[in-house]
């Protein structure tokens, strides 16, 4: 998705062009584009009168931020201890087979990004998968196949 400077400026305006607002601004931009386009980071540095290298440091520190394009839908497969024991590796294998997607990757059409996560606190219902933050519990290889199909259909 191309980054629109007016849009970035509007987000900056909303929080105020001051260093204190940096995180909120970056979160909003990340939310809007599903990642932090390079141009947007440069723009924020310029408007907040902050050195670019500091912004880059922040952008690489927090896991929520991405500097490479991410999908519109983010799937997290939990690989925490409980989920691992209950078959998370199988879920990952099946997802890769169905959608050709490995953790950290995004589909070429920017529809989906797959990530892993270390325990989301729902161990009793392991293994767990999150789709845009919505929890799917007690998953199995078949269930994730179905989920993959649905996700594909949604994007049409």
């Amino acid at each position: 998705m191309d980054c629109n400077i007016q849009e970035v400026d509007a987000i900056i305006e909303q929080w105020g062009a001051k260093p204190d607002s940096l995180l909120q601004i970056m979160l909003d931009i990340n939310h809007r584009y599903h990642y932090l386009p390079k141009e947007s980071v440069k723009r924020v540095a310029e408007r907040l009168e902050m050195p670019l290298n500091q912004l880059f440091s922040v952008a690489t520190f927090f896991k929520v931020f991405s500097l490479v394009p991410r999908g519109r839908t983010i799937v997290h497969i939990c690989t925490g201890t409980a989920c691992h024991v209950k078959g998370a590796p199988k879920l990952l294998d099946r997802f890769e087979k169905d959608l050709k997607l490995r953790p950290g990757e995004t589909t070429a059409d920017l529809a989906l990004t797959l990530e892993t996560v270390n325990c989301v606190g729902a161990c009793s219902a392991a293994p767990v998968v999150l789709v845009d933050g919505v929890t799917h519990t007690e998953m199995s290889a078949n269930k994730i196949s179905k989920l993959a199909k649905e996700l594909k259909a949604q994007e049409g």
């Binding site: 050195p51 670019l52 290298n53 500091q54 912004l55 880059f56 440091s57 690489t60 520190f61 500097l67």
Partner: protein, 771 residues
Amino acid sequence: MAKITLKINGQDVQVDEGSTILQAAKEAGIYVPTLCYHPFLPLEEACRICVVEEVRRGWSTLVAACVFPVRQGMVIETDSEMVNESRRTILELLLSDHPNACMTCQATGECELQDLAYRFQVTAGAYQGQRHKYPVDSDPHPLLHIDMNKCVLCRRCIRACHDIQGADIWTKVGRGFNQRISTAFELPLLDAGCESCGHCADFCPVDAIGVRSGRGEVRPWNAVSGSTVCLQCACGCLAQYQVAGDKVVRVRGDFRSPANRGALCKLGRFNFDFINGPQRLTETLVRGESGELKPVALAEAIETTAKALSEVRDAGESASIGIIAGGMLANEDYYAAQKLARGGLFTNNIDHVSGPWQLPVYEGLSTSLGLGAMTNSLEDLSQARSILVMGSNTLEKQAIAALKVRAAVRGGAKLLLAHPREVGLGKDAKMQLAIQPGSEDALVLAFIKTILDQKLYDEAFLEAYTQDFDKLVRSMEKVELAELAEKTGLSAAVLTEAAQMYAAQRPACLIYGLETGAAALNETFYRMCAALQLLLGSVGMAGGGVNVLGAAGNAQGAADFGAWPKYLPGYRPAGQSGTKKMIAKLWGAELPGAAGLSWPEMFEAMEKGTLTCLYLIGVDPFSVGIAPNKVEAALARLKLLIVQDCRKTRALDFAHVVLPAAPFIAKQGTAINCERRLQKLEPVVRSGVAGDFELINGILKAVNESLAFTGVDQAFAEAVQLHKDLDNLNLAAVTVEGVQLPVSPEGSGTERLGLPLEEGKAKFKFYAARM
């Protein structure tokens, strides 16, 4: 300040409140290891190697000594089992993710990690963890060598790049084990905007960021180190040169001089090719009958030169002799050169390359402010609240001043940058004014006009410290803003906005870079600069002032020691009877009458054929800003051209005598930087040839033995008798920090021009504006 007493290793230590444990330990002479800490950088607490044990009733904790403040009654142990165990663990962890390739590492012998491992006898291998694998020499930077496998994540590079250079290139990327040091978007350094100052390499405790020169060739212990003043620009940084044989291997900032406090610029740090390179001039040559330059003994060349010059003088044609000196000579060289011209050859035709630019600075400022040079200290600039920079690419030409400007901007100062071209401080400026070349005077007048019209001036200050305000007001009545706008090429609205911004925060700091190349502005310009600063009540305090930076390395020294046509040492007017009398007594020689020719006038005289003998000392006539064909024509007409230099220049093609001279780092003597700081030069390399001083003195001796010096020190001692601002200065008493002119009879210096506080002291004068 309140004192605090604490116990370190059972010893009572008393320190100022607010000190850290590390400072207290240092005071008591107790060793505490450090790694991320650096006395000239902000604190970071990144490594915790400095932990010490704070003993409380019944329990104790480990605290980082470099950041932890002392408390009354605190009990500290720096060498306990707990402390040493912790330090060893930290070192073991560091070494577990380190190449430990000390045998081939360039930093061996000066590496802080190696020293710590040695001190605590820690070896690699205690932890078998994951190890980073980064490419060695990972950045194409031509001067720096990057190997992040060796990085200990102390972040000194980040702090140096931010706090000293203000470039903000290095940053920490990622988190946890994946944290590493890189640039924004992981760009190569130069693409990320690196200014090649080399500070990061200076501060890196290991060989993660190093320099390319000397790599794999010279071990640190095979080089000798010595410090002297860099004369490549007017900042006069104290620099430490690592020299192997007669080659410079590496240059580091020396923290002892207040001029630079350890900072250097790209030029001072990396530009030493003219010392090491094939351009070095080493042979004494005289042009023979056949027209070829032939090697001769130095004594013979000096004799030939002196004989030829004496003949011209004795024929009553002294006016046809001229001497031009470069910008990187020592004070004593300048003093000797002008003594040779005036006393030895009976002419005032002596100038130094930046003379025509420095002269109006002196004349304009000495009359209005009573101090004819940069009014403040370099360090002062960082205290400014608003800043106007004009007249040079300051970041390149007088880097230290630019770094202080950046420090001020980080502290909230607003910077206005006026230059016809895009220049280095652009990213730091609130407003960039692309003025027409040479229109700085119109810009300053526009500021004065706006400030007067809108009554933005500091009335109380004007009342207390200045006189003749009405003179300025009356003369400005006729000046039209529109006219000034046209001259600068900016709109009246932009000029007004700029003036308002400049006047809004005080102290306001005016910086003029004195770029040679451009036409010299006259003394009225400097009087108007003084007027602007006085109007804003920004004279006489840190962060204010009229700061004219000096056009060449020792331009200030050249002026003070009389190497120009109009003034003798100590700014004694040439031709004035009092001066003549005094000098006649001191030298035992008659002086020529009126002022001599400036160097541009000398070139004109050469072309006309009225100046036929020229002595060039450390100056390339093809780089002074005159068209090459004009230089050629002028030099070709000379009957005698003496070229004295440390490097070969095109002037050699025209020379009759060539005298090889030592580079500035091989000299003994003194120099004065732009902030009027007189510092000592110490030879840090053996050059194998005579220095400028010995050569000039040799000629002086041959033309009139009674004028010659017994040595550099005697030349200095003689010169200070002529200069009231150096009154009786005893060179032996000058420390490595130097001393700023004017120097009081007791030997204390002047950090900045003060306010006329005492009753009866002359107030600052306003002059009428002239366009």
